[in-house]
Symmetry: C2
Subunit: 349 residues, 2 copies
Amino acid sequence: MTVTIKDVAKAAGVSVASVSRALNGHQSVTEGTRRRVREAAERLKYIPHGAARSLITRRTHAVGALLPDLHGAFFSELIRGIDLAARAHGLHLLLSSSHGSAQEAAAALQSMRGRVDGLLVMSPHADDAFLRENLSPNLPSVLMNVRNGLGHQYTTLMPDNVGGARAMVEHLAACGHRRIAFIGGPAVNFDAQERLRGYMEGMASVLPDATALSLEGDFTEESGHRMGREALKLSPSAIFCANDMMAIGCLSAIREAGLSVPQDVALAGFDDIPMARYLTPPLTTVHVAIAELGSSALTQLAMAVESPDTYVVSEQTLPTELVIRDSCGFRATSVPSPRGRPAPAITTA
Amino acid sequence: MTVTIKDVAKAAGVSVASVSRALNGHQSVTEGTRRRVREAAERLKYIPHGAARSLITRRTHAVGALLPDLHGAFFSELIRGIDLAARAHGLHLLLSSSHGSAQEAAAALQSMRGRVDGLLVMSPHADDAFLRENLSPNLPSVLMNVRNGLGHQYTTLMPDNVGGARAMVEHLAACGHRRIAFIGGPAVNFDAQERLRGYMEGMASVLPDATALSLEGDFTEESGHRMGREALKLSPSAIFCANDMMAIGCLSAIREAGLSVPQDVALAGFDDIPMARYLTPPLTTVHVAIAELGSSALTQLAMAVESPDTYVVSEQTLPTELVIRDSCGFRATSVPSPRGRPAPAITTA
DNA sequence: TGGTGTGATGAAAACGGTTACATGAAATTC
DNA sequence: GAATTTCATGTAACCGTTTTCATCACACCA
């Protein structure tokens, strides 16, 4: 049925050991033998059995990625980054996304053990208890967008949520806004916490006399719409949403109130999803290099896998970029030009 | 170091065979033995070695997905659908995307063999020769969005590109348009071919006296912009783009020509990416149930894997839906309302 | 009581590779 | 020319699991 190393050995007239050596580029093999083996393997279309190999080598050359139930641009960009880096490191990617509960996430992790050399974890359920329970210490793991309280036991990467949000507040203040409302994400979400913190810090440092006007949404367009209506009651001159989808919802709430952006209310988002520049008006937002987050995380993981002894755990913050478009009233062109550099950008830490 | 079945056997005072039987729910095991084994396994935190198991069982409980280098909503939706169905069938997902060339795709397939029980293939490079060369006949495989010329050797799924494009032409004609230009995708692309065919068929059946006005883009926004300019030279009353991104590019080309949509020129796209309803004006397009495509494909594959003897290869077409918004001039509301049903929809075959 | 069926258990053979070690021939050294 | 090194190759052990087959105790039946 399937052709094994024995078949190749027989066909080439050598032992299985020689086949293994020849095919794996071991040095002590005659050129003639190597050629005959190569030819036989080629002819028989021999493909080594991955499981058998990893049984003895204790390497699967695969890493697992545990991702939350997210869709849209964020998700695809993240995977793109991860996948690209994985291929560069010769690693396979075992993907498990869209798990809604902590139990599901735990089950996914369980079933991955023994199949992967390392783990990439981004999950809203990934608190300390969860990690302690479900992450084996001898399996290299890298975390994304989680608070890592475990004594720096795991490498952690996250976008500079605080810096990005701060920069946005500073920009809005520089545009002359004083009453800046903030529509945050769910309080349990780590990114949401960080962005709220950035908003607070920004307000405190740039507008110490102004009151912080903060509402809690849940990152969905619908909640942006709902909270946008609430926010308008505070008569703000600018509304800063913790992500772009909420900003979209907020935009329609503003319109429904008979107001226009940016003339009556300035609007800003966070993430810079592709849609942001096609809105009317184009949305001022904070760009997060998501693909880069994914590929950096995987590169870290690859290093941890390849040389566990010399690898040092670290905590990395990826810079964000302020992308100024029209919705904040800073400038006023209207038709997005295709493939042009998006807008003036300011990079944060 | 790692705890194996032997350690559990020793701890429970039984043989490895009994441990295996107890843990895998074999019937001929005493309740007492089973309990002791369970306890020992629990205590030692034993997790079976996947590679060792799949070496003997010849099952990896994983399927591979070979996807093209695409990003954005299409990609994430597809993966979501696949992943969801995979979890439902207890299968792991080995992902390999973003391979640019046929060689890379071939290499990816190569390195997956022996690690997966089945293969999900969507690739622009997946023509007959490629498939014959790189797909082993004893590895169940399901194809998406490819022309399957191999005597129905593989199950194939694809959206109803022809029907969707036809329906759009019919709708535009019903709106009173006679000069309907079409900006297609790259001629080598299968989806592009089908959508062009749908356009042609639609024109022939509904507007037999009108000339087909067809241009070739490459599915990018930029080409939509470029071809949009060309299309305008043909003084069309409607432009139908083979995907939404090109429609976006086309929209800006129309604006730059000093014309407006839909008053001067009607515009339509294909795919219904999330962005489509947020454009100004909201884009009339053809909705493709991408997640469903992915999950259906995986379900087919799971069936093929689980019962290869009774499985029958099939060819499935997933219905598309006409989504009528404002860009075609059919109606004229303007602000997209959040979470509302998108628009009147017409389902095709 | 002796034969027989039954059901739990253990020993050992797979699965398909890699690699330590043994072997023997050729090359090198004296 | 004998001793010794070198080096390509083969033999066999091993990785961790499942599963076949043999074994053995036990209850059952005549």
